[in-house]
Symmetry: C2
Subunit: 269 residues, 2 copies
Amino acid sequence: VTVRVVCAQLDPVLLDLPGNLARAADAVATAVGRGADIVVLPELVTSGYLLDSTDEAMSVAITPDDARLAAWRAPLRGTGSLVVGGICERGEDGRLYNSAVLLDAGGVVAVYRKTHLWNREKRFFTPGAEPAPVLDTAFGRIGILVCYDLEFPEVPRTLALAGADLLLAPTNWSELPRPAGEQPPQVLNARMAARANHVFVAVCDRTGTERGQRWTGGTAVIDPEGWVLALPDEDGYAIADLVVESARNRQTSTVNHVLGDRRPDLYRL
Amino acid sequence: VTVRVVCAQLDPVLLDLPGNLARAADAVATAVGRGADIVVLPELVTSGYLLDSTDEAMSVAITPDDARLAAWRAPLRGTGSLVVGGICERGEDGRLYNSAVLLDAGGVVAVYRKTHLWNREKRFFTPGAEPAPVLDTAFGRIGILVCYDLEFPEVPRTLALAGADLLLAPTNWSELPRPAGEQPPQVLNARMAARANHVFVAVCDRTGTERGQRWTGGTAVIDPEGWVLALPDEDGYAIADLVVESARNRQTSTVNHVLGDRRPDLYRL
């Protein structure tokens, strides 16, 4: 099957939960209007990123079954399409998680709580206790991970070994210095994660500035060789049609295989 | 300590063992003349790569203590400098290995037998049974790996976890198609291996063509953020001065650490 992935690169407003929910819902509607089978939104798209305290985070925290997320699901009605995006999650245990929710028209398909926390996130989020998931969907086997998770090669590798064809990664990538002419290092890293594991990778990053922090706008849809298939258009939508099962052919010569050539007995990890 | 690494990007002649030994010895002398503490030569620099049979490989196989390698060690005399390069190794077991030898003025410091074999190598080489090593030297803790090993993120990760500051990688990278303006994917991969593990990486690749196979000439010295410090000059020498211990500071924020933030309990590798 050919799967159309649309990443909607937004600029969430810090602490503006109703506005962020509405802007994301509009983006889902636009993406579905442009034929999306899978819509990817940024990390923490409902809350913004530069939260400064547990109180601030709690003030914009929601549960994955929050009724207001129906606005994201409405545009999916009558389609089999999926949307994944980041929320500041209030857990049933009262703790806060930096989570990605996967929704279809009917409700919540999966929730993944980010397992590697960056910097201030450690002040108010609890790291997830469950590994990043792989879900068998009508659009292939989808792995979900969030931002800093990607910096650990073990995570995309674990997802590929679990059968993922396509990784969906909501991110909020801080803008880092780089030499002229170079791509953002996080984009290069995502490309090499795709290549090392022969999976498609769809990253949805964000734009704008929060409390002095500039964001990278590094959204990209990447093929299993690590080449960029799509970057955001002027409206922020990166759109690519993927033959998702093609990721499963991991034979790189008559006698070589991306995963089969591993020597796990020699790794000390 | 500041360590000068010099990669000598050569064009070995297939099956010309005496000529290749001599050209590599000249390159070591030149590198030491230019102040090298560590000289890196390509993979299979004594034999060429596109060997076609066990007979061909056996005809150019040597042992790591072959007397002819004294020509590589001679320029090191009176220095503490090291040279690493690839040989077609005839083992004491009569088998053939694609090996990297590390030499100092006095003799053989270490031998590493490539553990991940690419394509035709599987026809005549036996894969190494021991993991890629980390060696404590006067120039820092040095990890050694060969070409296709780098494509497995587990290998540089294992070396970094074992304490490596600097990875030395003799390679013979086949030229792969790439979009205009893109670096060779193997170079990008080596850069991201450096960045993911916060280690220096010195890759010594080769140039030329053998039996229709074109080589990439992807030699690069890379810093622990993944940026390229040095590429080959017009004579093929990539020269960089590294503060090797700086790789050991793997703290990326007051509360983040490249290796300490790992979640090994969640990886299925």
